[in-house]
Structure formats: structure tokens, C-alpha cells
Amino acid sequence: MSTAILEEENALKTKASEPVKRVSIIISKGTLDGVYPGLIMANGARMEGIEATVFFTFFGMNAILKKKMDKLKVATVGNPAMGMPTLLGAIPGMSSFATHMMKKEMDRLDIPPVSEFIEMIEDAGGEIYGCKAAFEMFHLKEEDLCAQVKEIITVGDFYEKSAGAQIIFT
């Protein structure tokens, strides 16, 4: 019995050292800071030769809507990590200001705007999908979506397309 446990441990070790081959990243938030981590991870995956699928759902859909994708903002209210008192964060223009500052820093690091980033990921061979439930809930139309969206899919399709991938929810 003890050997069985040892063998199991060895099997786990072999598995752990296996390189990541595919990732399936879900982006569910529509704030600037909610969208970028997923995009950076998807692009980073492609740069490493890892297959990447990005699935946008709920407010994350804003990142693939032509009219909204480059107008995402940082939340200054309900975001304790900002270190800004809620009442101060609620002052008109505060979110735009914080967004402006963050975009400046990102530009310095060569992080592209959302539309360009999505284009980069698609050009790099990543696949972009939108969520059917959110698409219907927000009364969206095909023409609202950026050109890189391959398809609007159901959660079932998503799992099918994620076969063999690590699923990352952001």
C-alpha cells in the first residue's frame, strides 16, 4: 500500500513538471484593471508558444465592444486597493483621472490600448470568444463586436473549446 502512495507521488511530480500547453482565459470584469491581467496573460502565453483562448463574459464583454473597448475605466469606488477613501473616489472625474494616470504608466511599459492588444492576441494566433448569455442580456448585436471576435458561444461550447487547457478565471 505504501508503494502505491509513493507511485502516486511520483506520478504527481511528473505531471507538475509538464509545461503548460494551452490556456483558456475568462475575462468577466469590465474595468480597466479587470481586463488587462487576462489580456497580458493571453498575449504572454502566445509569446511562449502556448495556445490561448480568451472568453469574454458579463461586463468583460465591454472589452470586445467597438464603442467601449478603449474607454474602460479604473474603479475608484469600492476598490480598497486604490487606497482612496470612497467619498473621494466618488467625486466626478476621479475615475477618469485615475484611469488617465494608469494608462500613462501602462504606455510607459509599452502595454497597448485594449483594441490594439486584442488585435495583437488574435494576430498571434489567440482565439477570442464572447459569451452568449451576456450577449443576449446586454441586447448586443454582431456589429457591436470588434472584428477579432471569432464567435459568440455558450458555456458548453466554451468547455468544449477548452479541452486539455488550463482554465483561468479573471
Binding site: I40, N43, G44, R46, M47, E48, G49, L109, D110, I111, P112, E116, E119, M120, D123, A124, G125
Partner: protein, 105 residues
């Protein structure tokens, strides 16, 4: 760091197989490294990328981000991935004889 012979020259590499001194690089070394990376031959477009990487490294002490590379070298993202299949940034840096790219983008 370890030294080995590449295209008749003794060249030093770091633990991840990137060249330690980019000045040891020449066309023969590039061709030999490309072969190690699975590229049978290098064409003009490969060299556009390699020269851009080397120039940026020489000027700034670090290789360009993939975004700068595609925007300024005139080699678009799709082509870059086709030229250096797999992990383009790393592969190109290795063949260009510059250190491993450090950025996340």
C-alpha cells in the same frame, strides 16, 4: 555560464542558452543558432527582425517589447509568429545573440 563551439567559434552562453556577449555574434553564428532552434535557413525578413533586436539592445541595453518590435521593425505580429514559430520573442532573441527578453509584453 558555459562555453561551446558554434560555427567554428567558442561562444559563451547563459544557463538558458542565450549568448552572454552579443559581440560574439556574426552571420555564421546566427545561422547555426537558427538551426538549433529548428529554422533551416534565415531570409531577409528574419534578418530585419534580428537586426532590429540587436540595434535596440545596443542602444538601450535591453531588447524591445514585442509591440515595439512589430511597430518599428515593419514586421507585423502575424509574420513574426510565422518567421519564428513557437515562442517568437525568445527564439528571435536567442538567434540574435542578445539576452532573454525581460518584459511581460
Amino acid at each position: 555560464m558555459k562555453e561551446r563551439e558554434v560555427a567554428g567559434k567558442v561562444v559563451a552562453f547563459d544557463d538558458e542558452n542565450f549568448m552572454v556577449n552579443y559581440k560574439d555574434w556574426d552571420l555564421d553564428v546566427a545561422t547555426a543558432l537558427a538551426e538549433e532552434e529548428g529554422l533551416q535557413s534565415l531570409n531577409d525578413r528574419h534578418f530585419t527582425v534580428l537586426e532590429f533586436l540587436r540595434r535596440t539592445y545596443e542602444e538601450k541595453g535591453t531588447g524591445p517589447t514585442i509591440r515595439r518590435l512589430t511597430k518599428e521593425s515593419g514586421v507585423p505580429t502575424k509574420e513574426l509568429y510565422a518567421l519564428f514559430p513557437g515562442a517568437p520573442a525568445k527564439k528571435a532573441a536567442r538567434i540574435a545573440g542578445i539576452p532573454k527578453p525581460k518584459g511581460c509584453i
